[in-house]
Amino acid sequence: MPTVELLFSAQPEHVRTARLVAAAVARRAGVDEAALDEVRLAVGEACSRAVGLHRSNGVEEPVKVRLTEEEKKFSIEVADEVPSTGGGSAPDSGADDPADDEGEMGLAVISGLVDDFEVVDGEKGGIIRMSWPTVSV
């Protein structure tokens, strides 16, 4: 069960809220202070991408963020509800769509920042999973 779960309507102005909540929960969970900037940026990128996907596909459901404190790590899942179109996130599929390009750049930023990171495309939508080690207090 997630420690904190956050659902927000797919509006750009709520992405900042998600960043602040994620950083606050990560700090409490024991994520190293030096990594909190990374948490903030990675969650922001994942949420911005999800917001872009929802908006460009006319999806009204909220974006879901799950923040989970585990034994030695703190994990974050950002889930969108835009079903995979079978290669929908391929770099060449949306070359004319700036929102898609930004989403891809967002993924590039996350992969540059976070060691433990994966993107899962499912029938019901995509999930970005990432985690950071925690130090026990």
């Binding site: 750009p12 102005e13 992405v15 900042r16 960043r19 900037d37 903030r40 940026l41 922001g44 990128e45 911005s48 917001v51 872009g52 700036p98 390009d101 930004e102 750049m105 967002g106 590039a108 930023v109 540059g112 920042l113």
Partner: protein, 113 residues
């Protein structure tokens, strides 16, 4: 914190001082500002990012868009930034090779290459 923008000119350069957070919500404001400057004939821009607390890929996209616009007029877009956490984002995306990044506005204004 929201985004703050102010502009001033030094010689043929236009300094755009940016403060606050550049993200998916605020980046369109910065995009509008850069487009407006280029439309008004300012082709040599210096974006001072010393007051920026947060920058994400949407913000990077806007800066790249600005660079493309000024280059179409043989102009330039230089950045001023000393903050490690912001510089890191330029490094991991390889954009340090695309943007001239300076340590002060004076240095950026004096640069000619």
């Amino acid at each position: 914190m929201d985004l703050s923008l102010s502009t001033r000119t030094v010689g043929d350069r236009t300094i755009v001082e940016v403060g606050g957070e550049i993200d998916v919500y605020t980046a369109p404001k910065l995009r509008e500002q850069l487009v407006e400057l280029v439309n008004d004939g300012s082709y040599h821009l210096v974006v001072d990012m010393e007051g920026v607390d947060f920058l994400d890929s949407t913000g990077l996209g806007v800066l790249v868009g600005g660079l493309k616009r000024v280059r179409a007029h043989e102009g330039s877009l230089r950045l001023v930034c000393n903050q490690e956490r912001i510089l890191k984002i330029f490094r991991i995306t390889g954009l340090t090779k695309v943007f001239p990044i300076h340590t002060s506005v004076d240095e950026a204004v004096a640069a000619t290459d």
